[in-house]
Every structure is written in structure tokens, then in C-alpha cells.
Amino acid sequence: MPISDLATALPRLREAPARRWRDVLIHPLVLRLLSFAAVFALWEYAGRIPLSPAFPTFLETLGGLGAIIADGSLFKAFLITLYPLVIGLAVSVLLGVGLGVLMGLHEPSEWLIAPVFIIAQAAPLAALIPILTFAYGIGLTAKIMTVCIMAMPVIVLNTLGAVRNTPKSLLEMGRSFLASRSQSIRLVILPAASPMIFAGLRLGCAAAFIGVILAELLITPTGIGDVISYNQSVADYPKMYAAILSIIAFSVLFIEALERIEVTLFRPEARA
């Protein structure tokens, strides 16, 4: 029984102030802050034991974060990491959505192309990274390709799924009003598919981040991957943890922003 019911069941008089206090406690924002504070405190305590010499406390990590921000290395690293990430993501989105829509509307191409992506979706593509290094060397191309192979399958399959199950009655409605093929695609199929396509883009984005970090840890250490592996090799753990925290925080914020853009630009009805 959720706690609020519990509150009303108690005798009214004695605990009036307590109930107000309890309502504050279970307010979502307060709880969220509480949970963050609890985890960081736990981390601080674990670091103090120390759990292991390689486990800095939360405050040390913040210190490390301050250091890598102050000397600009974090900012420089992010710029280097973002370069293959954004290009790879852009390619994956354009190609991925394009392929997904093509397959959704044209069955022979679905027959030909979909199985490759179905396997890619289930398979651990990270193992392909060394192959990309052989094929494209250790430069930017290999990293962009890594981002693409990680991000594309989920984008393609989500788009295909979205286009494939456009509500039948909407399609018939379009036809009954003599919508041409291109009108039907532009005005019915794509808008109806856009929520699911965007869900695919967010998943693709998360996969792209995994891709770029794997590329930087496996191909050659550049950007954030370099900050992480260099600090690991010189056992400067606060900076290492700070770099990892920053890329994780950044990816979560990036995906959150994508969701906000989607609602404002494409989904007026969600906003209303």
C-alpha cells in the first residue's frame, strides 16, 4: 500500500505536522536528491576504507575532475572524442533511417538487407573493431566506422519496425482521400513512424557513445579514451574516474537533450 494511503489511515490529530514532513520526503525531486547524496556518501565511505588502492573517494574524484577541467585537458579530450562520434552518428542516422524507410516500403530490399542488421543487432559487433583497424588504419575513419557499426543496427531496425506497422486504418484513410504514394509516405507513414524512429535514434545514440569509447580504448587512445587509459597507466585514479564520470554524464545529458528536441520539434501533441 503506497505510503500516502498509510498516512491517511493513521489517527488524524497527533501527527499532522509529521504528515506534512512525510509528504515533502516522498516528493520525487527530494527523493532523487536523496538517492544521489546517498550513493555519493556510500562512495566516499568505500573510498575511505579503502576498498582498494585503486578506488579513490568521491571527493578525490571531484578533485581530479577539477584538475582535468582546469588544465583544459577534459575540454580538449571531449572535442577530439566528439569529432568521430558526431560524424559517425550523423552517418548512422541518415543511412539508418533511409535504409529503414526503404525496407519498410519496399519488401525485396527488406528481404535482402534486414537479415544483415538482425544478426548485427544480436551479435557483439565490438569484436569487429580490430578488423576496422586493419581495413582503415588507426585514424579517424576507423573510429567513425566503429560508431556506425554500433549505432546503425538499432536505428535501422527501429525505423523498419515503425514504418512497417503504420496503423492500417490511417493508410486506408489516406487512400480513401486519394493520397498519392509520396503524399502517403510524407503525410501519413513518416509522421506515424516518427515516435518509434526517435526511440531508435536515442538507442542508436547510446550505442554510438559505447562505440566511440570502445574505439578510443581499443584502436588508439585519443580524446576521452586517452585521458582514461593514460591516467590508468600512471595510476592517477581520481583523474581516471573523473574522465569516466564525465563521459557517462555527458552521454546521459546528450540523450536527454535529444529527447527534448524531439518533443519540441516533432511531437506537438505530446507537448499539448
Binding site: S169, F177, L187, F266, R267, A272
Partner: protein
């Protein structure tokens, strides 16, 4: 031009020997049959005429193919055999002279009410301001004035179906095809819709083809009812309920003729269920 009756001699239900409605048939179904890929034969050589300016209902047991016939007339589904003529021209696919009202509303969730209603005109390339003016008129016509900027998920089931109806009227089609339009709304809204439909038929000067499985609804709104048999369906009877519809709509529900026709049809359809 007398309506040609189907091979099976349909029994005349009306008590008064007055002739069938004299209006010319706007839609003529000539021995149409339909077999689905799975081998299921939905319609077998059905022939039927739909008088202009009137509301004709296709009534029959569920799964008898009434929606299939409606979609064939709308051009959404190809017939396996036979032809359909609308205003003299053979139906090859959807056409501007026919508009469809869907059972599940088929509204675009991402579009506002006014954009949904104007969608038929938008597809036809009508200019933005002109189509919005027409849409506004029909929105008011179906009693949704003030909801132009709302989105489908913000409306009740009944209001959503009004949007569907306004959209069909907005393209000013000669024939409005309605596939169980009120089945997704609650009973009270449904009665209100039936009364408004009567008024619509009287004033709009359009022809309506209505599909329903509710006998009361059919008798209440229809000028003519085509009773369809079980699958593969053919016309088992044509009924033209003689009910005075001009005065108070509530009185009709208590009218003895109305109740007799309802009972008559029920007796016919009952044995299909056992």
C-alpha cells in the same frame, strides 16, 4: 429505373403497398463477390442499389462481409467479381465522390483537429487558408466549435468520431460511407449521434451508406435497410421502414411502427445466430 432485385426474392417487409423510394440509384452493386486469399468467400454475387440522397444501411450478422462490401464500394478493396457503379461510373479505386468514415476514427495523432478535418483537401492541394475555412465550417457543423487547435488524444471518443465525420463532409463527396461509426462510443453519445445523423441526411443532400450490427440503430436512421445473410452473404431482404421522421426524434423511438420493424428484423436475423 426500378431497382433490380437480387436473384433471391427478398420479401417485402413494409405493411403499406407503397412503391419503393423513387430516387435514382447513386450507387449500383452488380453481382459483386469477394474471396480473400485464405479461400474465405466473403461475398458471392451480391447485387444492390443505393438511392440518392438517402441513408441506406447494410445490416447483418457479424462477419457477414458488410464492411467488406462497404470497402469495395469505397474502392479500398478490389472485388473478386462483379462491378460497382457510382453516379454511373465504374469504381476502380477510391474517388473524390466518395468519403469514408472509419470505425476506429483513423485520426492523425500528431495533427490538430483542424488539420485532420482539412486533410482530405490538403491531399487535393487546396490552398491552406481556403481549406482551413472549409474545415472550420464543418467543425462547427458537427458541434466542435472551439476545439480546432486541440489534438485527438485530448478529445473523447464521441468528439473524435465527429472529427472523422467532419473530415468526410469537408471534401463534399456525393456519397458518405460510414463503417460502424458509433460502435466505439458510449450508449448515450450514440443516441445523440443517431439523431444528428437524421438531420444531416435531411439537410446535406448527400447519400449515406451505413454499416452497423445494431438493429435499433439501423431502423432509427435508415431510409432503406439491406439485410445480408451469413457468409458468403447475399441480400436476404430489403426493408424501407415507414416511419415519420420529420418531427420529434424521441417520439420515433416510441413509435409502434419503429418497434414492429425492429421486431420483424430480429426474427429474421435471430436464426443466423444458432
Amino acid at each position: 429505373m426500378t431497382p433490380n432485385l437480387a436473384a433471391a426474392a427478398p420479401r417485402h417487409m413494409t405493411d403499406l403497398p407503397s412503391p419503393l423510394l423513387t430516387a435514382r440509384p447513386i450507387v449500383e452493386v452488380k453481382s459483386v463477390s469477394k474471396t480473400y486469399p485464405g479461400g474465405i468467400e466473403a461475398l458471392s454475387g451480391i447485387s444492390l442499389d443505393f438511392p440518392e440522397g438517402r441513408l441506406t444501411t447494410l445490416l447483418g450478422p457479424s462477419g457477414c462481409g458488410k464492411t467488406t462490401l462497404l470497402k469495395i464500394i469505397a474502392g479500398l478493396i478490389p472485388a473478386s467479381g462483379g462491378q460497382v457503379f457510382v453516379d454511373g461510373r465504374e469504381v476502380k479505386g477510391p474517388g473524390p465522390e466518395r468519403a469514408f468514415v472509419f470505425q476506429d476514427f483513423a485520426l492523425m495523432p500528431w495533427a490538430s483537429v483542424i488539420r485532420n478535418v482539412a486533410f482530405g483537401l490538403e491531399l487535393r492541394g487546396v490552398a491552406h487558408s481556403e481549406r482551413e475555412a472549409i474545415a472550420e465550417r464543418h467543425i462547427a457543423r458537427v458541434g466542435l466549435k472551439g476545439f480546432e487547435r486541440k489534438y485527438p488524444h485530448e478529445l473523447s471518443g464521441g468528439m473524435r468520431q465527429r472529427v472523422g465525420l467532419a473530415r468526410a463532409l469537408a471534401v463534399d463527396a456525393k456519397v458518405v460511407l460510414m463503417d460502424e461509426p458509433f460502435s466505439a462510443v458510449d450508449e448515450q453519445t450514440r443516441r445523440k449521434f443517431q439523431e444528428e445523423l437524421l438531420e444531416l441526411v435531411a439537410n446535406e443532400g448527400k447519400s449515406f451508406i451505413f454499416v452497423t450490427h445494431s438493429i435499433e440503430e439501423a431502423v432509427y436512421v435508415s431510409d432503406r435497410i439491406a439485410l445480408l445473410s451469413r457468409r458468403p452473404s447475399r441480400v436476404s431482404a430489403i426493408i424501407e421502414p415507414k416511419i415519420a421522421r420529420d418531427d420529434d426524434p424521441d417520439r420515433i423511438r416510441r413509435d409502434s411502427a419503429y418497434l414492429d420493424v425492429v421486431e420483424e428484423i430480429w426474427q429474421q436475423l435471430k436464426h443466423y445466430l444458432d
